[in-house]
């Protein structure tokens, strides 16, 4: 009897403890709340790393949207390709200028905004981190701001009129949509504010390759200023290009073809690359945003492969014959950037079965990023998703060509800069007009995602991107196609977003 009373009182005591609100508070043992997380420099660095993370998602995040590919298939050097017209319908619609609000590369939107969100977390917390030097804090702020500007630039180029915010949103999570000119002003001001901090190194130290440098920020600045045709900033942008050139920390490599192999990554010509890793890469079909290799390489790889040289790939991004034919025979960029498969087979005494040819096949492949045998060594995830090929975003050759073009645009002489690029390519001087420079960029950057934007900003797109000049496209490019439709799912959630008049 007494035992029973003890038992019951024990149960009663146990239960009375539940009166408190402490009882109904759960404990998260495997994670910490954000407000208590950034308590030292190591953790703040983790926050900064997370802001870089989305850079590597574009090539495969449920859609295949590598930025060079998506840009190039809207221009004239690269076709869409793939196993057939239905392989990646969204890419085909992009290729044909038939983007709709529901059929578009909307993962670019999602990824870029994810990056922006993470940059702002760094900016929100970095000042409060104890034990961190002011210099490091300022460096992190500069990196986060340049990255945010880079992500906004992607959105601005594809969509123009986008929701914009300078710190992370709070409930109900709506932002004001800015006109494309205002977005430009925000981006360019963001970069100018970073330059005032005077903290970024012209080139990052070894082991840090991939982090934002001053040269990278200058290149981004020149890109947005030139795309906006902002004459008031041409002189400043030219000055920045000259700063990079005069720093002598970057230079052209003599062998153009060597730029694209693993040993050529982060060479003296490289200003900024998106890093991919094959050894230890854990990217897999189930984890499309895990850190590892590049999917772009297998995407544009040779169907069936060439044993010993190139891995079996999916045949996207075939290079147009016209692109191969535009070079002089002496120009090392032709075979240093484009793979003429039949010629290659003849020279190396191997065979290729053209029964493997896929849609829009030309026999020309993008040598720059193609899946070479052993490019995916040491992977831990899926073999096809872990090619180590970095995406070259800014090369010193572009610095020179930017400088040449900005010089011409400001009434100066850009010949020396331009000729450095031509000399490396074994090409003679063929003039220094702006059109000559755009044509030089055409040859220099095939498949690097530059051509389409060059045509749009120079006004040449209307003439060059005509259906009659294209083997497959039935629509001419016109100014109304400059900005894609805003994804419908975004407008469904935020009805205050105005739709772009794409094609109208």
């Amino acid at each position: 009897m007494k035992k029973i009373i003890y038992l019951l009182s024990a149960a009663l005591c146990l239960s009375l403890s539940s009166c408190s609100t402490d009882f109904v508070t759960a404990v998260h043992n495997s994670s910490e709340p954000m407000d208590e997380y950034f308590i030292n420099e190591d953790r703040m660095f983790q926050g900064l790393v997370a802001a870089y993370d989305p850079l590597q998602w574009f090539d495969y995040f449920y859609q295949y949207n590598p930025l060079p590919l998506v840009s190039d298939i809207m221009a004239d050097d690269i076709y869409c390709g793939g196993s057939n017209e239905g392989d990646q319908p969204i890419l085909v619609k992009t290729h044909y200028y038939e983007v709709t609000a529901t059929d578009l590369c909307n993962q670019i939107w999602t990824i870029a905004y994810s990056g922006i969100n993470r940059c702002y977390h760094v900016l929100e917390y970095v000042d409060g981190v104890p034990g961190m030097s002011n210099e490091t804090k300022t460096l992190y702020k500069a990196e986060a701001n340049v990255l945010a500007a880079y992500y906004y630039t992607i959105l601005w180029k594809f969509w123009g009129n986008i929701p914009y915010y300078d710190e992370n949103l709070t409930a109900p999570y709506f932002a004001e949509q800015l006109n494309h000119d205002d977005v430009y002003t925000k981006i360019v001001n963001k970069l100018e504010d970073v330059f005032k901090l005077n903290i970024l190194p012209m080139k990052v130290a070894g082991g840090n390759e991939g982090r934002v440098s001053l040269a990278m920020a200058y290149m981004l600045y020149a890109e947005v200023v030139m795309y906006q045709k902002d004459e008031s900033r041409y002189a400043t942008a030219l000055g920045y290009m000259e700063d990079i050139i005069e720093s002598t920390q970057y230079d052209l490599v003599s062998d153009y073809a060597s730029l694209w192999v693993e040993g050529g990554e982060w060479g003296k010509e490289s200003i900024w690359e998106i890093n991919y890793i094959s050894a230890g890469g854990v990217r897999s079909w189930g984890s499309p945003i895990a850190t590892g290799g590049n999917v772009y390489s297998i995407l544009i790889g040779i169907p069936g492969g060439v044993p010993g040289y190139f891995d079996d790939g999916w045949g996207f991004s075939p290079v147009a014959k016209s692109a191969y034919d535009m070079y002089d025979d002496a120009d090392i960029r032709r075979d240093g950037g484009i793979l003429n498969l039949d010629k290659f087979c003849e020279e190396n005494n191997v065979t290729y079965d053209h029964a493997n040819d896929r849609w829009q096949a030309t026999g020309y492949f993008l040598y720059k990023y193609i899946a070479r045998t052993n490019d995916n060594h040491g992977y831990l995830g899926d073999n096809t998703l872990n090619y180590g090929n970095n995406i070259r975003v800014y090369r010193f050759a572009e610095t020179l060509l930017n400088a040449a073009e900005l010089a011409v645009l400001t009434g100066a002489d850009g010949k020396d800069y331009l000729q450095r690029v031509r000399n490396r390519a074994h090409c003679p001087d063929t003039g220094t007009t702006r059109e000559d420079i755009i044509e030089e960029r055409h040859k220099e950057f095939v498949g690097e995602g530059k051509r389409y934007w060059d045509l749009v900003r120079s006004g040449l797109a209307t003439n060059v991107l005509k259906a009659e000049n294209h083997l497959y496209r039935k629509k001419d490019w016109n100014e109304s196609l400059k900005y894609w439709p805003i994804p419908q799912s975004e407008r469904d959630k935020d009805p205050n977003i105005d739709q772009n008049k794409y094609g109208l």
Binding site: V24, P33, A50, P89, W266, T291
Partner: protein, 766 residues
């Protein structure tokens, strides 16, 4: 004490040991009277004690369904039907030259026959589904212990105290392994060696080799513990015609969980399943070929409740009851943890009134009314706060000089909503129960009205906010309707029979939805979001374009013009869908021309049951159905070209006059976007289904008793014997994956079909 065993083979892959379920259970319960001194004193005079415990052991294997890439079901549906299953000898010889490296790892069945290797260039990662079924799968095991104990003490004459404790402890996990295989040139894995070359400062290369293993083993174990206590004090008193019951109580529950696992590559002792474990592997941690993981959560979820109830009954004629609950949940932030939930009810049993004594045929008569508030905390844990998650890594350094390194990145796990609180439902119910002829005929009717406020739903946060949406208290909804239940049970001589029917009519309406007053849900690949919530309409409803029919010829396209004479659908060709220009502005656009095109919630759900028993024979039938519901059939993968299509594609438009309800065949909908969200994909999901039909015979007792059996019955049973429906998908019963309020209700993304089951059974009683 009791035990049980249950075993089931899956519809797909069951005979390959890949989709099976085995359960073994053991149960024990014990009741004991500790003492009973009620004849001696009126305080602390009696106590009872009871315990129950059960143990279940479940072993199951499963195949993955509903995944686009590389799944067995996906491959079976996508593969060309004229592919052969097995490769003949000549083909095998061909494979040796076609795939010299892969051929040794070709998949074979138990008899050693080789499965066809499909063309990887054509099918990408999709493969021969029969070969995939013959590869090893994962085995899942669960061990579950449930124990309860309670004690009751009679404290005073009418005062009783009951205390109970319960524990639910579960261990579950899986072990799996993978052996080398070659399904196609796009789907294979076997040991390969790769070389990594790095360059030193002077540009000199040095090369290291590494084996990429084609085999692996992994194992994982999870543990969860949930305990709860409940203490209840009751007071029961009857004096004269009054009877009163008071209850005061309290309960609390808490759960915790942990998990640990490991995986490693490179099986050491061959591929004999009995010798495979993570220990017996070659992979090294430094190469990333050996992984371990673990997590531990001491308190995942806690719920505390206090409750009080007073009931009063006068002469079995008038009944009143009032309840008050106060619940606290760990799923809400500091200011929102607690909610108060009162309810009251009353009933009048008018049959027991004196003035009714003349109505002899009326055997039961009761009027009921109730009003009450309920709370729900059915959301995930920790959604009110922002917690950090790791694994958001990036690579710095250069592969060319071997300084490439993965840096660990950390970010918040998503957007948070610190204001999330209890969802409340206020339900009012009025009811009438009638019975006639000694309850041979019974009839019940109820009217109910349930107002839900603060519905817990994923907030419609735009993607540009940069992270995943939190849960919020988004809207208010009213469900109201009637429930009817009519039963007749009687006999004619030895013939006993019954017939009954029930029906529910429900009307659902969204009454409030935040400030922006519109929300879309349930997105589908390619065609956008399918369901929407708008005040004044059912929640959720299907939202899309209204198809008027199919353009039969060019004249119809040219005569479909706006006010200014412009073509409304200039991109259309004959065979394309004609959409209604709802706002009359001469263009079809997403902003103005989408409308209500159906809903997944039925107006009527009903059931009919009848049966009889005659001289040992018995039969029972249960029919169920629904009316007024539609299903959104998005089972066709419009993002894939080279896949098999359902038979309904035969009814497509093939020329003028062929049909007015299905567009011409196109890969991707064409420039008219024929696959956009429209009523063409919404189908009537009304159905009548024979849920259960049973026929039995009980042997005469005088026969069976000789064998020591008191009752022996054999029966034949059919489940889902037939379904009458016009729906063309697998199953009209599309409930959708219910998250919160089922924003997916009625969306058919390819539901796993319900099986038609025939069974023969035997009931034995000794």
């Amino acid at each position: 004490m009791s035990g049980g065993y249950y075993s089931r083979e899956g519809i797909i892959g069951g005979n390959y040991g890949l989709s099976n379920y085995d359960r073994f259970t053991l149960r024990e319960s014990l009741q004991a009277k500790l003492f009973d001194k009620s004849s001696e004193r009126n305080y602390f005079n009696a106590a009872d004690f009871s315990t129950s415990a059960s143990y279940a052991h479940i072993t199951s294997t499963g195949i993955s369904e509903n995944t686009e890439y590389g799944s067995i079901l996906g491959s079976a549906l996508g593969m060309s039907p004229i592919e052969t299953i097995y490769a003949d000898e000549a083909t095998e010889e061909l494979y040796k030259t076609l795939y010299p490296e892969g051929y040794p790892y070709i998949v074979r069945d138990a008899d050693g026959r080789a499965f066809t290797i499909v063309d990887g260039v054509k099918y990408n990662e999709q493969s021969n589904p029969m070969a995939m079924l013959n590869r090893p799968g994962a085995v899942y095991t669960t061990d579950k212990f449930v124990a309860n104990a309670s004690a009751t003490l009679q404290i005073w004459d009418n005062l009783k105290f009951k205390s109970s404790v319960g524990v639910d402890l579960a261990f579950w996990g899986n072990h799996s392994y993978s052996t080398p295989y070659f399904l196609s040139s796009k789907n294979f894995k076997y040991d390969t060696v790769s070389n990594t070359t790095v360059y030193d400062d002077k540009g000199n290369p040095s090369t290291t080799s590494k084996t990429n293993y084609g085999s692996s083993a992994s194992q994982e174990m999870n543990r969860s513990l949930l305990w709860q206590v409940e203490n209840v004090l009751t007071y029961d008193k009857t004096f004269g015609k009054h009877s009163i019951n008071v209850l005061l109580g309290q309960s609390a529950l808490r759960s915790s969980s942990s998990n640990v696992g490991a995986s490693a590559n490179g099986l050491m002792y061959g591929y004999d399943p009995w010798k495979i474990s993570v220990n017996n592997t070659l992979g090294q941690q430094k190469d990333g070929d050996r992984n371990g993981w673990g997590s531990w959560n001491s308190i995942v979820y806690s719920l505390a409740s206090y409750f009080a109830r007073v009931s009063y009954n006068y002469d079995e004629r008038y009944m009143l009851e009032a309840t008050l609950r106060r619940d606290g949940s760990s799923r809400f932030g500091i200011n929102n943890k607690w909610g108060n939930f009162p309810s009251v009810s009353a009933a009048w049993n008018f049959r027991n009134e004196e003035f009714m004594s003349a109505f002899n045929n009326l055997s039961m008569g009761k009027l009921r009314a109730s009003w009450g508030v309920n709370g729900s905390d059915a959301i995930g844990n920790f959604t009110y706060a922002v917690y950090m998650s790791s694994g958001n890594n990036y690579v710095f350094g250069s592969g060319a000089v071997g300084s490439e390194n993965v840096s660990i990145g950390t970010k918040p796990s998503g957007l948070a909503n610190p204001n999330v609180r209890w969802e409340e439902s206020i339900q009012t119910d009025l009811g009438l129960d009638l019975g006639f002829f000694a309850n041979k005929l019974t009839f019940t009717v109820d009217y109910y009205m349930k107002k839900t406020s603060g519905m817990l739903l994923s907030m419609p946060v735009p993607g540009y906010a940069g992270d995943s949406a939190p849960t919020g208290n988004l809207g208010d909804m009213v469900n109201s309707g009637y429930e009817f239940d009519l039963n007749w049970r009687s006999s004619v001589g030895d013939f006993n029979y019954y017939i009954g029917a029930n029906a529910t009519y429900n009307r659902n309406e969204l009454t409030y939805l935040g400030d922006d007053a519109t929300s879309l849900y349930g997105s589908s690949h390619k065609i956008g979001q399918l369901t929407r919530g708008v005040v004044g309409l059912p929640f959720p409803y299907f939202y899309g374009y209204h198809a008027l029919g199919i353009f039969q010829n060019t004249e119809e396209i040219n005569s479909y013009v706006g006010k200014d004479g412009n073509l409304i659908q200039p991109n259309a060709v004959p065979g394309d869908v004609k959409y209604e220009d709802i706002n009359g502005d001469g263009v079809i656009d997403a902003d103005n021309d989408r409308t209500y095109i159906g809903k997944g919630i039925p107006d009527w759900t009903f059931g009919i049951n009848f049966g009889f028993e005659y001289k040992g024979f018995d039969m029972s039938v249960l029919l169920q159905g629904q009316l007024g519901a539609q299903a959104f059939n998005v089972t066709r993968r419009t993002d894939l070209y080279y896949i098999n299509l359902p038979r309904t594609i035969l009814n497509r438009w093939t020329g003028e006059g062929s049909t007015n309800s299905a567009p011409r065949f196109t890969w991707d909908g064409g420039s008219n976007e024929n696959y956009r969200v429209s009523n063409l994909w919404v189908e009537d999901a009304s159905f009548l289904r024979a849920r259960n039909v049973q026929l039995g015979y009980t042997l005469p007792q005088d026969l069976t008793r000789k064998a020591g059996i008191s009752r022996l019955r054999v029966y034949l049973q059919a489940e889902n014997l037939f379904t009458l429906t016009r729906y063309t998908g697998c199953d009209p019963e599309v409930t959708g994956s219910n998250s919160g309020y089922g924003t997916e209700v009625g969306i058919d993304r390819g539901v796993y079909p319900q099986a038609r089951t025939f069974s023969v059974g035997l009931n034995l009683n000794f």
